[in-house]
């Protein structure tokens, strides 16, 4: 493993949901020093970076414009420049990067840029995606704003903010968050304060253990069934029997082909028939997939395949039927051969 691989996390959330306040608190924690931050604001003139005070070991870059549409290549270039400056000793030697998106940004294209750009591939590893939700206005925002739903749906962790204004989160809001993304832990920020380790250890890669932390990433036991009239749904496909490698490949290809942008996020641990002792960890955002990562061993006694889906207008029953049909055909062809 390369020693200088740097985790990169995304802090997203709708306008006014408290992203910058949280970031300001994080950057004052010693555990969060040596952090490079990219703040993205939608308007021509950015202000948020003025509100964040970084320690001497951290530094902040500001990007205006919409990070998820017109300046994706600009994001890759910014990251490449930051890494070069770090290598040349021209900036503090940061060991993590956080991107604070604008409140109107779709985090999926940003994730895709981080997964596919040739100039940064190999230097960065995906950390968590964290979404802030205003506990006062969050329910109405989620009802009104599609982009807010998407920000929550894609997140690895959700942080409720402004609880000091409104008391405990309303059950209706918590239910809606569970419908959109039951796998993500819901954390609370106390006037913007939250422990950094709680926040950015929610992704697939644990920078402290330098390994995949699949159990907490999938958080299987928390999953509930999706509400069937919802546009965005979260559900889990579970298989007790191992899945043939070719079935898994065809399944993922077909999901990408037919669902495209409506497959917001997919993550899972799979018992591959040809590799019973080393499970595969899979991850995809829309039609972009990581190559499977093969764990050295199962993280627990649970050897079932568990694949978490966050989708928009993709029916759970269709996904189940697709996997069943491909699996049956592959089994039938194997017998015939």
């Amino acid at each position: 493993m390369r020693a200088d691989v740097i985790p990169i996390s995304i802090l997203t959330g709708f306008l006014g949901s408290g992203k910058t306040t949280i970031l300001g608190h994080l950057l004052r924690q010693s555990a969060f020093s040596r952090t490079a931050v990219i703040i993205n604001e939608f308007g021509e003139v950015g202000l948020d970076h003025e509100l964040v005070e970084a320690s001497e070991d951290s530094f902040i870059e500001l990007k205006t414009g919409c990070l998820c549409c017109k300046i994706r290549s600009d994001l890759a270039q910014t990251l490449q420049d930051m890494l070069q400056r770090r290598d040349d000793g021209k900036c503090p030697p940061f060991d993590r990067i956080v991107i604070e998106t604008s409140g109107l940004a779709d985090p999926a294209p940003i994730l895709q840029t981080l997964m596919t750009d040739t100039t940064i591939g190999g230097r960065l590893v995906l950390g968590g995606v964290v979404a802030t939700v205003d506990s006062v206005t969050g329910a109405s925002t989620l009802q009104r704003e599609d982009i807010s739903q998407k920000q929550v749906a894609i997140a690895d962790a959700i942080v409720l903010t402004k609880l000091d204004l409104n008391g405990p989160a309303q059950p209706a809001l918590l239910r809606r968050l569970a419908e959109l993304n039951a796998a993500a832990p819901v954390l609370s920020a106390d006037r913007g304060k939250i422990h950094s380790q709680c926040l950015f250890s929610a992704g697939p890669y644990d920078p402290h253990a330098k390994s995949l932390d699949v159990n907490s990433w999938l958080a299987q036991e928390r999953h509930s069934h999706a509400r069937h009239d919802a546009d965005i749904q979260a559900f889990t496909v579970v298989r007790n029997e191992p899945i043939a490698a070719v079935t898994l490949t065809l399944f993922l290809e077909t999901l990408a082909e037919h669902c495209g942008a409506d497959l917001l996020r997919l993550k899972g641990i799979v018992n591959v028939a040809e590799s019973p002792d080393r499970p595969a960890v899979i991850h995809g955002v829309q039609h972009v997939f990581h190559a499977p990562a093969w764990l050295k061993r199962w993280p627990s006694d649970d050897r079932r395949s568990r694949i978490v889906f966050i989708t928009r207008r993709v029916r759970e029953r269709w996904v189940e039927a697709l996997l069943e049909a491909i699996g049956a055909e592959v089994a039938d062809a194997s017998v015939a051969a």
Partner: protein
């Protein structure tokens, strides 16, 4: 081909119509084929007889096309029923889930 892939292919086609929001019906014919009536088209899906390469035969409005797998069948059916469909090809990420 055994019955299980045919039954599950039939279920997949029924679920696919619902997923694509296409009104129509999917059923098995007496001779075992899957028949889809939707969007003013009749589509018939047969297990291809003893062909190791092309396992399926798809007939759309009388025109026959072979299909190598249920995935290819699904693509042909969607192209016939969903004019706005544009397939997305899977793209493999350059970054790894775990650093090399």
């Amino acid at each position: 081909m055994s019955e299980a892939p045919l039954d599950l292919a039939c279920e997949l086609m029924a679920q696919s119509l619902a997923a694509w929001r296409v009104a129509g019906a999917v059923e098995r014919s007496r001779d075992g084929a899957i028949v889809i009536c939707a969007a003013r088209k009749e589509i018939r899906i047969d297990a291809a007889p003893s062909n190791p390469m092309f396992r399926w035969m798809v007939t759309i409005d009388g025109r026959k096309r072979r299909a190598i797998s249920i995935v290819a069948v699904l693509r042909q059916v969607r192209e016939a029923l969903d004019p706005g469909y544009a397939a997305k090809r899977v793209r493999v990420a350059l970054t790894a889930l775990v650093p090399y």
